[in-house]
Subunit: 159 residues, 2 copies
DNA sequence: GCTCTCGTACTCGGATAATACGTGTCCGAGTAGCGAAGG
DNA sequence: CCTTCGCTACTCGGACACGTATTATCCGAGTACGAGAGC
């Protein structure tokens, strides 16, 4: 799994904590998390292309949530960063394993191996789709109530 | 996900279909599935190291199931090929995101992002662990009853 | 005819290259704010 | 003093290198079968 997924979730989480209309620049995020600015910027562009964040160009620009945090699922984030392709890809090698004279009717139904892997991946995707940024924020708040205030301070709010 | 996972499951499935004590060589599998022999051999070695198959050295050697097909889960196969490392790794970047003066008590509990991703991955792993090679075999048989016979013919059984 | 020995062919095992994707970086396009000049 | 113009600094956007992990390959160690010679 891409490193960028973790970064993206934390960035969205920070934006959810800030909860205002002032955009946050890549430089601010990079400084806050001590991450390579240029590469983090690449990930943020992916989030913008996927419509998860809105990008404000120009000076004093940056990124802000494109929709409420409870409307952004972790599945959205993973898809934005990793792409929509499934992790397991079936190449239908079963067709070559049975000899040339195997009846085509034997392959009408989905490959059983493919089906099994797909079921597992579906469980993963459903779990990701059932958890929103707002949920993660709520859990983090429950673990450490000071988190929201610390986040706002880290980005220059409430000086 | 590694290509080798698909190959490995199909190989184990074929061994389950054959269901005898005569080992099958890498060359036989590669010829049957039309796969690069040397690379497939590498994957089979991983299965052998993980204890899923038993390797018979020397002429007329090859591989056979190390235990019954209903005792080999898809999780075992994925772990053998991909390794035991979790797909998502938490680098605890939250600690850097809150400023230096953040109280350590705020990080006693697990990172919420990590927890959320872990839950999804656990669903995936549980689904993989709940499905055995025997289950996949049963499903494939249900889809196409001729599969077992075709497999035995492909490996020189029942000539 | 039987047995022992040697040779050959075959297969596993690990060490070794080539390639693709994830990682990291750079520079150009565009915008907002600030300052100075003019009215 | 107010308005307008221009400049500078800052930020997004996409195009360009690098490193690591997956993909792919090769050669050596070991074993079983078979042929041949010897008894």
């Amino acid at each position: 799994m891409n490193q960028g997924v973790e970064w993206a979730v934390h960035v969205l989480l920070s934006l959810a904590w800030l909860d205002d209309d002032r955009p946050v620049s890549t430089a601010a995020f990079a400084a806050s998390y001590d991450l390579p600015q240029a590469y983090l910027h690449k990930q943020l562009q992916a989030l913008a292309r996927a419509g998860l964040v809105e990008s404000i160009p120009g000076a004093r620009g940056g990124f802000l949530l494109a929709r409420p945090a409870d409307k952004i699922t972790l599945m959205d984030v993973v898809t934005a960063i990793e792409g929509p392709e499934p992790a397991f890809t079936c190449t239908e090698i079963r067709r070559r394993g049975m000899g040339e004279d195997a009846p085509k009717s034997a392959f009408r139904r989905t490959c059983a191996v493919h089906g099994a892997m797909q079921r597992a991946e579906l469980q993963w995707r459903q779990s990701l789709a059932s958890q929103t940024i707002a949920d993660v924020k709520a859990e983090a708040d429950a673990h450490a109530p000071s988190a929201a205030r610390l986040a706002r301070r880290a980005y220059g709010r409430e000086e």
